[in-house]
Symmetry: C2
Subunit: 307 residues, 2 copies
């Protein structure tokens, strides 16, 4: 669904304010922004706060690069639902003559990348995707909890500073029986509430849906909302009227367990769920709510961030 | 130059040890590895140590995502020298019918990504590339020093755990007059020495060259080495006989100043130089030198890392 023109106008204006304050650095491509030193420092503190909220779980920490095995990506069925957001990686493998032709293309201003063959990797679409093949097989009795963070890519060029093409997701992923997953989800619903309260953000929880592609996607949206498989914590960034998702709680049922061959210790297909913290978005929500002068943020907010 | 087969054998064996110890996590693609929690924690501490060594410079901190404006990339002339290492990003922009064809391609095992159009971004080849357009124009009298870090991509699938396709470079970039750049380089030559000594690594400095492409590349190699434009600090990772570059000091003369229109305050084209710390490689060199039991690393090494 295309955003309201009034939202986009507000988003553009707020992006320009963020750039003028040195918090974001434009690169010439919509949705591809550098981060200033203070913005990055605040983001690191948000990340550390997520760590504190999940610390008692003893999650296994894994960190993956921004590129993903193309076979894992194919297996995940991401292309069925979100082909428009994916990014494949292509690379030159020619000889000296092909190199000369490539450089001629660049000089002539043609789409020189058009004919480059694809490589074995794609850009990581969500932080949890590399986790599923890494835990394939039979789970221990309590299932698994994995703590993951990576840069994610979504091809959705936008002037909204909260809709970046490359952004960091910090996730906790639960891989276990349906009952274990349900109990974990309840814990994180409470923690998400406490998390936004600690930061003194005007946040609320909503039933949500993913941006499924095409005509068939409409049915998937209805199904996802009816079954309440996705919740989002939203807070104002560019606009109070149209707040932005800053945390997302997703229940995949046995989708990934089935695709990647993950089973519980009694042989059933594992269920999975994840909670994703949009680190840039939470950081932006903080600047929106408390202003650009970080030294004047409320004492409570500064304290939980270690400022 | 292809590596010695004995080096590759040693590299494969060492990669398997790192995986068995939980420090690296295989993903099925050579050179695309996840990082275990302890590895990542050590890497963060190495990064913090770089911060301490550069702290007195008052560098401007900028952080960029792993994707780069394709126009910046074209302007940088990276494709002239290293077409074989670059990665372009492509994305689907078709309708429902094209989507069905795409999914058929995936099911049939064809190269479904082959015909996807390229986007406005490429993978970031080196952490300093987005800095040059960000500082274009006239510099202040003292020039600039920028502190940058990003995931970089090089398409060079390898079994060597130190030759990753996606890895983090922490860089300091000097943009100034030739004299200011020369003085800054001398400072970092000394600091690099102190840095590896603090970590108690068996490191040494060497004149080096970039892997320029093709027949024309051979001349560029000779020129770069004759003029001593590139130095590397090398230390053993997979092999003591063939150590690996862990820090790289590059002098670009007026190459980037010219391409991106950066001038000193007296109107001359700015010179640039950067020092790049390979964070994964330094971390790997630490495990190689001091062993997989971090709690038994030498007291001095543990102390500078805050362990």
């Amino acid at each position: 669904m295309a955003p309201d023109p009034r939202f986009l106008e507000a988003a553009r204006a707020y992006r320009d304010e963020l750039v003028a304050a040195g918090l974001l650095i434009p690169t010439g491509v919509p949705g591809v922004m550098g981060r200033g030193g203070e913005f990055e420092d605040t983001l690191d503190r948000v990340d550390a706060l997520v760590t504190r909220f999940g610390a008692s779980d003893g999650a296994t920490v894994m960190r993956f690069p921004p590129i993903l095995n193309k076979l894992t990506f194919e297996k995940s069925e991401y292309l069925k639902s979100f082909p428009q957001l994916a990014g494949t990686v292509h690379s030159f493998n020619g000889d000296d003559a092909a190199h000369r032709a490539l450089l001629h293309g660049v000089e002539a201003g043609t789409d020189w990348a058009r004919d480059l063959p694809s490589t074995d990797v794609v850009l990581t679409p969500a932080a949890c995707y590399p986790v599923y093949p890494a835990v394939a097989g039979v789970l221990p009795a309590n299932g698994r909890i994995v703590d993951v963070l990576s840069f994610c890519f979504r091809h959705e060029p936008s002037d909204d500073p909260a809709r970046l093409q490359a952004f960091r997701q910090r996730e906790h992923v639960r891989i276990a029986s349906p009952e274990q997953v349900a109990s974990w989800r309840n814990t994180w619903f409470e923690r998400a509430d406490q998390f936004t309260a600690a930061l003194q953000l005007d946040a609320r929880v909503e039933v949500a849906n993913d941006p499924f592609f095409g005509r068939g996607g409409k049915l998937l949206v209805v199904n996802q909302r009816d079954q309440q498989l996705k919740f989002e914590v939203v807070a104002p960034i560019a606009s109070s009227e149209w707040p932005t998702a800053i945390i997302s709680l997703n229940y995949h049922q046995d989708h990934f367990g089935h695709l990647f061959g993950i089973t519980t210790d009694d042989g059933a297909t594992a269920h999975t769920s994840c909670i994703g913290f949009g680190l840039e978005r939470i950081t932006l929500a903080l600047y929106r709510k408390h202003g650009f002068a970080r030294e004047r943020w409320p004492d409570g907010t500064r304290k939980v961030l270690g400022l």
